[in-house]
Subunit: 342 residues, 2 copies
């Protein structure tokens, strides 16, 4: 049975969504969940969830971690907390379980920077990887694409983008089942003459990478479904994702407002399309497309939105389970070894 650690102290409203999401996941996906965090806070929520389900328990256990990392943790102080061998915060304790082979993957809805630092120091990077990268699956017209880097590395070199592309391609292939994933480099135009200095330096590396590199792409190709992996530096990737989420929200809000402020016929129309529209809303809902995956560290690590609810935590567990079952880490290790031999 796949064993997944959930940081109970991660989400903005911790530990309720984290614990309830873990319960939903354990019930739905047949995984073992290990909740790390303050046991005195976790246990009552878990007991209540069991009571609601008529007392039946699930394969969930609590590993006590008396401390936690918050949004306030940054810089050198964070690095020290992340490194300390006997660290007692929930991220360190949870990732140590993965490192020691007691669990298969780690999930948190907490501080991304804190999670990255903890993963770098406690799990280490895979041989051959200079910078690990955050990848996320995002919906497109034809299904989904993988966006790398989502924000782990705001400043990148061309070699980093090449490695992001390699890791993103492996993720698309192994976890999402995409055959020979199409890789696009996001730029300010499809023509090769466009691009900033980083893009221009990355093009020759991607062309000779052996990847299925299809060239420079813009938003319309990415969301239109022309690529399986959209490669960007972490600054651009983060801006890209957040702009996309914000536009989706603006548009759905605008539609709701238009319908509720409309005449009677418009309101009736709005009621009639409501069930169909919930599918559209789900389509671009962050809690539906799941957590981001940290690729390039020696362990499976997933990071979700701080605003995650129980449903989003549940979906993150599903994403983690799929990565475990696809042996993403093993595939990543051997593929990177292969590419180093070249």
């Amino acid at each position: 049975m796949t064993r997944i650690v959930v940081d109970a102290m991660g989400s903005d409203n911790y530990p309720t969504p984290d614990v309830e999401g873990a319960v939903l996941a354990a019930r739905e996906y047949g995984v073992e969940v290990i909740l790390v965090g303050d046991e005195s806070k976790i246990k009552p929520i878990l007991d209540e969830a069991y009571a609601r389900a008529g007392g039946a328990t699930l394969p969930i256990r609590i590993v006590h971690a008396p401390e936690m990392l918050t949004m306030e943790d940054k810089g050198v102080a964070l690095a020290l907390k992340a490194r300390r061998p006997n660290a007692k915060n929930s991220m360190a304790v949870g990732m140590d379980l993965v490192k020691n082979g007691e669990a298969d993957a780690f999930i948190t809805m907490g501080n991304t920077g804190a999670c990255l630092a903890t993963a770098y120091f406690r799990l280490g990077t895979l041989t051959g990887v200079d910078l690990p990268t955050l990848a996320v699956a995002f919906p497109s017209a034809t299904g989904s694409f993988i966006l790398v880097d989502l924000g782990a590395n705001p400043d990148c070199k061309a070699e980093n983008l090449l490695q992001f592309a390699i890791m993103g391609s492996l993720y698309a292939e192994k976890v999402r089942g995409v055959n020979n994933p199409k890789i696009g480099l996001v730029s300010n135009g499809e023509e090769e003459g466009k691009g900033n200095a980083l893009v221009k330096a990355s093009i020759p590396l991607l062309k000779t990478s052996g990847l299925n590199y299809i060239g420079c792409v813009e938003g319309k190709e990415v969301f239109g479904g022309s690529v399986d992996v959209a490669v960007m530096d972490g600054f651009t990737g983060n801006v890209f994702l957040k702009a996309s989420e914000a536009v989706a929200k603006l548009l759905t809000d605008k539609i709701r407002e238009t319908i509720t402020s409309g005449g009677l016929l418009t309101k009736i129309g709005g009621m009639l399309i409501k069930p169909a529209m919930s599918g559209v809303r789900k389509f671009l809902d962050p809690s539906e497309y799941g957590a981001a995956t940290l690729l390039g560290v020696n362990g499976l690590v997933f990071i979700g939105h701080g605003r995650s609810d129980a449903r989003a935590v549940q979906v993150a567990v599903r994403v983690a389970k799929e990565a475990c079952e696809a042996n993403l880490l093993g595939a990543m290790k051997s593929a990177i070894e292969e590419s180093l031999k070249k």
Copy 2:
């Protein structure tokens, strides 16, 4: 009467949308339009438009330009064409009219790079401006915001971002009528510790700029209406805009698909909300929010989408007219002189 040059050879389907848009604008906004381009191609379309309107003519004249710049024009060859004193392409001829005081503004739906090069060489940059910038007004939850830089400068320094902010602020104030415009620096997080090297270097400059700088912002603040000017380097700005447009299209397509593939009640609901929905579609339609403005050159220059239809060309003329009437160029010159004195 405001005199506006429209490059008749600009749009992908030139010269029909360009000429028809000019006719709509001359009729609607009381401006004089000067169409530059191949007279033998322009005249039949103009005559047809007049015939359709019962023969009544408008203050539109044609200035013949036998050559044109296309998407194929780039690099040094483009620079030479853009510079040549006796250049006969429509962009050069049109911008010379502005330079010589025979027109107040220039509009093209053509090759952005070609337009930038022609503007740099023929109009020159304003004293004190290192890099001119492309600004565009984009809709938000509360109205609109100005995005600078939209893609004129893929690689920027902090000093450039500061100048973009100053020019964007002036544009928001003078043309859009915003009092003390709120300036946001787009970053991968609102916290100051976030950002790439460029953002980190730009923060202290913006803080001491005397502008109404409100800090680092993400997509949700920008589209939520928290800023009047969103500042980015041209690479990020272009990716931001194109991702936003692509998501809006994906979502509206998805809604249409959901409704047409739905059951009878959903289809009826779809018909009932159709009139209301057209407002939402217009809301994020590039042809409705108009052309981008090139700020920092010594003349008013506007660049629209190549895919523009007549309606988009018409809106571009309206945007240009507003800038002329607000004396954007004069305000820009004196404000930049002021800021140089500090």
